[in-house]
Amino acid sequence: MFWLALHFPRLPLEVCSPGDPQQAMVVLDENRVFLCNLAAQAHGIELGATLATAHSIHPGVKHKHRDLEAESQRLHALADTLYRFSGHVSVQAPDCVLLEIGGSLKLFHSHQALSEAAIDLCQTLGHQSIARVAATPWAAIALARSGRQQLEDVALSEAGLELAGVADDVVERFANMGIYTLGPLLNLPSKSLGRRFGKALLKYLAQLTGDLHDPRKARTPSSAFDQTQHLLAPICDKNDLHEHDASPMAVLARALQQWLITRQLGCERLQWQFLSHNAEKACLPVHFAKGKQSAADFMRISRLKLEQAALPEEVLSVGLSAKRLQPWAGASHGLFRSTDHASHDDASSSDLNELIDEFNARLGEGCCRGLRITPQHAPENTWQTLRAHHMSRKPAPRHAGFEAEFLQSLSKRPLWLFDPPRQVSVAELNLLHGPERIQTQWWQGSTACRDYYIAQHRLGAECWAFVDSEAQWYLHGYFG
């Protein structure tokens, strides 16, 4: 067993969407400054100060109260994302994610490479992290929290005693004894420590050094993606929602991308949610012809859709949920695809689907359709449109025996069909060929008996006309 702990020191700040980095910003916990951003630090605001002090130092400072629930949610989302590095991921509240990496070392060659990859991944999701590797979970957490390399140097206040069921005042009592770090504490005889400070401390120390087994419950990754970004200031301009890299939609799209890669899934349908102050809600579903995985694809289609959508005037939170997922099917490309001229006339199927996605996003669902033949007798029923999404997925059902014979019978059909047929006066027609009698659906009771003629219309078009049993003439199509 080999453990990697990732500590997120700035998580309370990072859970609210990153605004202007120049804006001084502090997070308050019990009315004291708990964490401040770089701009606030530059102004000289110190941790532990009251809000009044912070305001007197820099009047323009913005503040926000610590949101433990949001932090925990984000931590769990991060744990889900980090699932790609290890099958055994657990969360150590409030600010650590723990990975068992013993089984992943062969794949990543070394724990350094793995740590770097994990830190990079957290960075792309907008989280600063410290990674430390140790033989036991507690040791890894203690090292990560303190940012040290040696267990001896880890200060007791950062060692995680309070999490192991040891009270805060114990740390103070140690301080009175002159013990500030884990090193001297581990050197003390355990029996007498146990007598004075209780079994919880002994258990913690045994698990820290590896004398006692420390089972961790592995997290099962969530099977649904649903994340929300709460904004500090309401956004009124649609462009601010998606335009730059740090905009809420872009951040969510990237999070979804990582989530999908981890699970080797593609997203076919996702839904954006925009909430305003007064809980006014706008949903924006986005469909894809084929499962997509990259944030760029999500954003490209979502942007088209967003242009058409009506949003609340002031958007305060943005949510993204993946509605329909599919196993990811990657496409293989030639190594020199971009320079391959021979394949110019053949677009890859992903390109073909992208066009449909864009049409559906901009023009609305159902504006873009495909054609299909159905084995019906009445001429107006032998065709059908179908949603272009379906078309790309499965080819039209083929009725081999029926088709050849059927198509044979259709050699004298017009390329343009009128739906419904148009009334016409026979005086406008010059008959060329016919008649062909088509009697439809006599078995269903509604018998329509038509004699079809090929005729030339007064305006010059060759047309397909019929006369029904009421002796009324209709145009049913042009030969085009």
Partner: protein
């Protein structure tokens, strides 16, 4: 050799040299000569064969532009514009794995008939945008994306501007798409950036008469007659007996109109009505019983 003779030989040599240079110059690939329409252009940029030899000979690249905008000006709808394109659409839909986009078609493209003339209908994409701007956007997007082998569009003539055609032409070049705009006859008077403009008129049944109004590297050309019906196997002979039938029908219609206007005669009409249409149909039974 006397000097005079030497001079003439020299002159002769100079002349032959000049002739040779001239001949070489004529073979320069960038030089276009009106006489060699088809052959020379075919080498530089091959088009999509139209399926009509008569038309291929007159078009640059011996066919429809495989990357560019063409315009068909129609006197009225349905006079043969689709059958003119059928051979090209057939080839493109079968050979290329790209869409054939139909934007805003005025009627329903009849799937069984399209299949019967060899067009792969699974490549057809029907797009019905709600507004003119959306239609323009969709057409341009289809052209530019490179995932359409051809795009056929029926746009709102009143709102179509010259600069739109230029955008479409550029987009079609970029996406290597044969883009075809169908416009009314009145559009002949407006200028357009399309690289090929044809005006279509109805001729005798099964034929279409066309004028080339604009083409790359050639003058306008008038009155080409193309047998569109033969190319698509939809030729219909004009039968004598149907003509008689038609005369009967016309007579019947005028009669029934009189009958409808005259209340006293309406009772006669139902008895007389079935006689005409059904007598003939029973003589040549073509019943489709499913």
């Amino acid at each position: 050799m006397d000097p005079k003779q030497a001079h003439t030989t020299l002159m002769h040599e100079k002349l032959t040299h000049k002739k040779l240079m001239h001949k070489k110059l004529l073979q320069h690939p960038n030089l276009w000569r009106a006489g060699q329409m088809g052959e020379r252009q075919a080498q530089s940029q091959a088009g999509i064969p139209t399926g009509f030899t008569l038309l291929d000979e007159q078009l640059p690249g011996a066919g429809w532009p495989n990357a560019g905008l063409a315009e068909l000006m129609l006197g009225s709808a349905g006079i043969g514009e689709l059958r003119l394109l059928v051979p090209a659409l057939h080839a493109m839909s079968q050979q290329q794995n790209r869409w054939v986009a139909w934007i805003n078609p005025p009627f329903v493209p009849y799937a069984p008939a399209l299949q019967a003339v060899g067009i792969d209908i699974s490549k057809i994409l029907l797009i019905h945008p709600r507004s003119h701007l959306d239609a323009l956007w969709a057409l341009e997007r289809a052209c530019r994306s490179g995932s359409c082998s051809s795009a056929l569009a029926w746009l709102d003539e009143k709102k179509l501007k010259l600069k739109d055609t230029q955008r479409l032409q550029v987009a079609a070049k970029q996406g290597r798409t044969f883009t075809c705009l169908f416009r009314p006859q009145s559009a002949c008077a407006h200028s357009s950036m399309a690289e090929l403009r044809l005006a279509l008129r109805a001729a005798t049944p099964g034929q279409v008469e066309l004028d080339i109004l604009k083409r790359r590297g050639g003058w306008p050309l008038h009155n080409l007659v193309l047998p569109v019906a033969e190319a698509t196997g939809t030729a219909h002979r004009e039968a004598e007996d149907i003509q008689q039938q038609l005369i009967l029908w016309r007579a019947f219609q005028t009669h029934s109109e009189i009958a409808h206007s005259d209340a006293s005669l309406t009772s006669d009409a139902p008895e007389r009505r079935p006689l005409l249409p059904f007598s003939r149909a029973t003589r040549t039974p073509r019943m489709h019983v499913h």
